[in-house]
Subunit: 206 residues, 2 copies
């Protein structure tokens, strides 16, 4: 048998592009993927479980882990830290499971620095006009915020350089199928499996 | 709209691995692919059409084209030349269609030299034991030939280095789906489409 390590897939893209929707539909299809569990300093809410919803840490513990390089990325929102713990990702990959991370562009770029062997997928809006409409329709933003978001999106799209793949989110179903193709074909890359195959060959020829 | 050039996909692998079966099943699924049309010096048979079944050339014409670098690969069988004309491939790609070529390993390595931007897929036998059985069951080989084929297969498998992807042909349906994933995900590679996207962005922002 061929034993293979898992692959870390990172789905990212500008705000409003529909990352969460694509991720939900992908997981509805029951793929052979583990969702990356985040670490946070915010309080555990009723119904949440440590190690399932989040890994809960104190601010001091979190900062110590950051210091030790134990976070693939992190950010502070509303006085709490949120981040991706390296240990969970590495242990899951070593056990042969793929890990899937859906994240903002800034976070993805941090992951790229700390874990360049990940496969980075950029979710692209069908057009910036539609991106604008989507943000407006969320109804949670003022016009000024929308304009700032657009400006930000422009910068984020220029960050496409750091990614391996680009998927247009024109239809969610189609975008999810494309992400699934990327996941499957990455496992077929020669450089990933060459060593295992050469070993298989040696065993057969003896 | 984003205009994209087609991609040349090369399916290859050791003899007996089932390249032809995978190619037939792939085309049964009506993919958006043009099959590469070969050039030959053998006589046109009843029912065959020039430019559909083959491009038919005289020996002199063929050798002239080889001289001019107009063949991506070629070989001589039973006193006739067979090869892949560069012009047909390049014109088809320029028109935005993918081209699919199923070919022996030696031919694939020639294509790799002459057209390195192709995507090279290596079809791998589930095991060399099964490869041996398949060759025997074809019933067209003597034992000595089988042993030679196996020796050759070993060499061919070591040629895997030249390929981008490796697909195990344990089940034809599964192998075909994997090839389809590779075709789809290659179109999603960032470096292929970055320029077009940046242009799209500029148009939208004006």
């Amino acid at each position: 048998m061929i034993e293979e390590k898992g692959i870390l897939f990172i789905l990212s893209g500008p705000s409003g592009v529909g990352k969460g929707t694509v991720r939900k539909e992908l997981f509805n299809r029951k793929p052979d993927l583990k969702y990356s569990i985040s670490m946070t300093t915010r309080n555990r809410r009723t119904g949440e479980t440590d190690g399932i919803d989040y890994f809960y840490k104190s601010k001091e513990e979190f900062e110590e882990l950051v210091e030790q390089g134990q976070l693939l990325e992190y950010a502070k929102y509303v006085n709490n830290y949120y981040g991706t713990p390296r240990a969970y990702v590495e242990e899951t990959l070593a056990a042969g499971h793929d890990v899937f991370l859906e994240i903002e562009v800034q976070g993805a770029l941090q992951v790229k620095e700390n874990f360049p062997e990940g496969v980075f997928i950029f979710l692209f809006p069908p057009s910036l006009v539609e991106l604008k409409n989507r943000i407006v329709n969320r109804g949670t933003e003022t016009t000024e915020l929308v304009l700032n978001r657009l400006k930000e999106a422009r910068k984020e799209i220029e960050m496409m350089d750091a990614y391996d793949y680009v998927v247009v989110n024109d239809q969610v179903e189609l975008a999810v199928s494309k992400v699934q193709s990327i996941i499957q074909s990455e496992h077929l890359k020669r450089e990933r499996i060459e060593k295992q195959y050469k070993k298989l060959l040696e065993d057969e020829m003896e």
